[in-house]
Symmetry: C2
């Protein structure tokens, strides 16, 4: 931390004090090392923007009405009860990468790798030099830009490291779904890294540093890049849009909800399906879901809205109200037709119709060019967080697989499930209770 005034950079509504203390805390402070003097002189939290919107004493850059470095100074902390990159608002740039241990590397090498990775992640997230790694310079003068780094273990990790008896029951392979068209080369993996930041160069740099830190212990298996709206590009509170143009994320559980932790995090001491080393951890379901946008674009607005059960413009339920109004699943029109159709995505995925199954969706959009037929290779890097996939993703996806109007317009192309341990304390590393337990 620093002696500057700290301001939370939270989405509305603000986090509970509880979570703030739990670490993975979200603070805004200037990284003196990285930022030039002009802003530092004004002081964090003291940026001032005149009503003229024109010449600003502290602004020498490309857009006089963006307080420069306001994005760059966003900072999350690595150490804490939970790992970062789960509850924070999704950043503008994200990388998901899986690594496999090389043949011969076992528990010892994995422990050393997680120790190096954790140290590097803590430094990168604080905007400080990573010990033992020559700085690339790529992130220089940008500040951490709300960088988060998150680590996870795939099921195969436990055999490779002789830790099969520590593999959580909750990490059992996801079932096959009828709509799956999975590419094994872009699925699964021993180790998972999620890197995200509001600046593309900062995110790339962090990914590179972490890749280099694997040394001879692990090799990249797959990597995917995604994005979300740029901070300041909209004044819409919190909820993102996806590449189908929908408001996406409305009915996510919220950190201030009483049962948020129960749904998203493994409880202290573990539980029936998660050993103690997973306490305060979570499970990440990662699905690369391509959108068949050419098909989608052929539908009328009304058809598109009935596929989801919500209005496209503002995400309000077709049963009425605004974005935050609960869906009324019973309401009908004059002719007795359900306003939220029986196969609408929002109905089929709702906890009310899935025995309470709940997950925190925190996706990135992706666009990897175009396929030979001219269709965009684009969609959702779907990342869902839950305390147990059997009480989150699995029952919901089973239901979607049978009767979701959205299925026609999407293809699940890759899939993975990772156990994401709790956060590391200062001086410790992610996975230490497993690897040194």
């Amino acid at each position: 931390m620093s002696d500057e005034k700290a301001t939370t950079t939270e989405a509305e509504p603000p986090r509970t004090r509880d979570r703030e203390e739990a670490g993975g805390g979200t603070t805004l402070s200037l990284s003196r090392r990285r930022l030039l003097g002009t802003v530092g002189a004004a002081g964090a939290g003291g940026l001032a923007l005149g009503a003229s919107g024109g010449a600003l004493a502290l602004s020498q850059g490309r857009d006089p009405v963006t307080p420069l470095a306001s994005v760059g100074t966003g900072r999350h902390t690595f150490h804490g009860t939970h790992q970062p990159g789960i509850v924070e608002p999704g950043q503008a740039h994200g990388h998901l990468a899986a690594f496999d241990l090389v043949p011969g590397a076992g528990r010892r090498e994995a422990a050393a790798l997680l120790r190096r990775w954790s140290a590097a992640a803590a430094a990168l997230m604080a905007g400080e030099p990573v010990e033992g790694v020559a700085a690339t310079g790529i992130a220089d003068d940008a500040g951490p830009s709300s960088l988060t780094v998150t680590f996870g273990f795939g099921a195969s990790f436990f055999d490779r490291t002789g830790l099969a008896d520590q593999r959580p029951a909750a990490l059992e392979p996801l079932p096959e779904f009828s709509a799956d068209e999975l590419d094994g080369r872009r699925s699964n993996g021993d180790l998972w890294v999620q890197v995200a930041a509001d600046d593309g160069l900062v995110a790339f740099d962090a990914l590179r540093v972490l890749q280099r830190e694997t040394g001879r212990a692990a090799r990249l298996r797959w990597q995917m890049t995604g994005f979300n709206r740029t901070p300041g590009a909209t004044d819409r509170p919190r909820t993102a849009r996806n590449l189908m143009g929908q408001v996406d994320g409305t009915n996510n559980p919220r950190p201030e909800d009483d049962d948020f932790d129960r749904h998203v995090f493994v409880p202290r001491g573990g539980d029936r399906r998660s050993p103690a080393w997973m306490e305060h951890g979570s499970y990440a379901v990662v699905r690369r879901i391509r959108m068949l946008l050419d098909e989608w674009d052929k539908q009328s607005l009304e058809q598109q809205e009935r596929v989801i059960g919500r209005r496209k413009s503002d995400g309000a339920p077709l049963s009425g109200g605004d974005e935050r109004t609960p869906l009324d699943l019973e309401k009908t029109d004059a002719r007795g037709r359900l306003l939220v159709p029986f196969n609408a995505h929002a109905r089929v995925s709702a906890p009310e119709t899935s025995g309470g199954a709940t997950m925190l969706r925190r996706p990135f959009s992706y666009h990897d060019g175009f396929l030979p037929d001219g269709a965009p290779d684009a969609g959702l890097l779907f990342v869902a967080w839950q305390a147990d996939p059997q009480r989150g993703f699995v029952p919901v996806q089973r239901k979607l697989d049978r009767g979701d109007a959205l299925s026609r317009f999407v293809r699940h192309e890759a899939s993975a499930l990772f156990a994401v341990p709790g956060g590391a304390p200062e001086g410790g590393y992610v996975g230490q209770p497993l690897l040194e337990g």
Copy 2:
């Protein structure tokens, strides 16, 4: 335009009045249609940020110290003397795409396409609905986010449309260079579109709309996606960094320079190598240049700096001074060694050593995942603008090809050259003087 207060969103130093009037002008205004009421109520140019940096009346979003919609409201105008996307600071997201006319499509179809494209570009850049195209919703509530759309013609366009006699001499194919490892499928093309914006969803949406507007006239040939630093991520004035970590763009010609127009734009009435329909236009050299980052990262900082001839931290010449100090190409150290080495990239590419050859470099970084050996598929989508490639890119690249210390660390993988006509007046379209001339 609108009745709101307009504020320039220019990089330092500000544009000359001349260019501002010439169109392609850069204004900041709120798109009332797209932005929610909260910011509109405060009024463009009237955004105010309290010294507390905390709760802002107009801010309901993810980061209280970023005036929301400040990025979203950035707006450039489509109509003007020059096309947009040449002199404006490089946006955070860019797409380059080439299209080929389908067999049978000729001059008439091309004219209709450019008319549709121009109308769509003008609407998208203003944050307004595109006539005749169902809105995707993807860009909703974001504002134009400094979107620019730029159109160009490749050499093959002129044969396809029976306009071979109108092909500019300046559009002759680029010579082969010894270091080229070009992929024909990602090179050249009849038509070129450059789309760039500070928001990734806005840029994607614009690209999609333009692709759909091709109708049955043209097909996508190749497409590449790039990025630059997010606005607000740094307070460094103007100059970007690339994925080698270098400050890149320092010695670009500046719009306020006396000879800027002469170097970058075809003069009124055309010239010896450009017909009249190219007046106020420019030529875009597009090169996909992969960086061999694994090799690069093995070099010491000193070695890396000697490859360019500038300091990595701040871009200052190795001959002394700060970023803006001219390179001293003669200066030596105590042992008589040139401070800017004889093969340093900045020396070999400097106009002083290339008969005055000058271009405006306006690149995007790209990162398309990793190659099978784990090396990043990343580098520079190099876009260079000049009034004539024979007085810009060609002589410089010839020199670089022979003796540039950087060559070892880069691979030119794709190449294209496009004639980018002047801007369209209101009611007109890009290329009209060619296609209806």
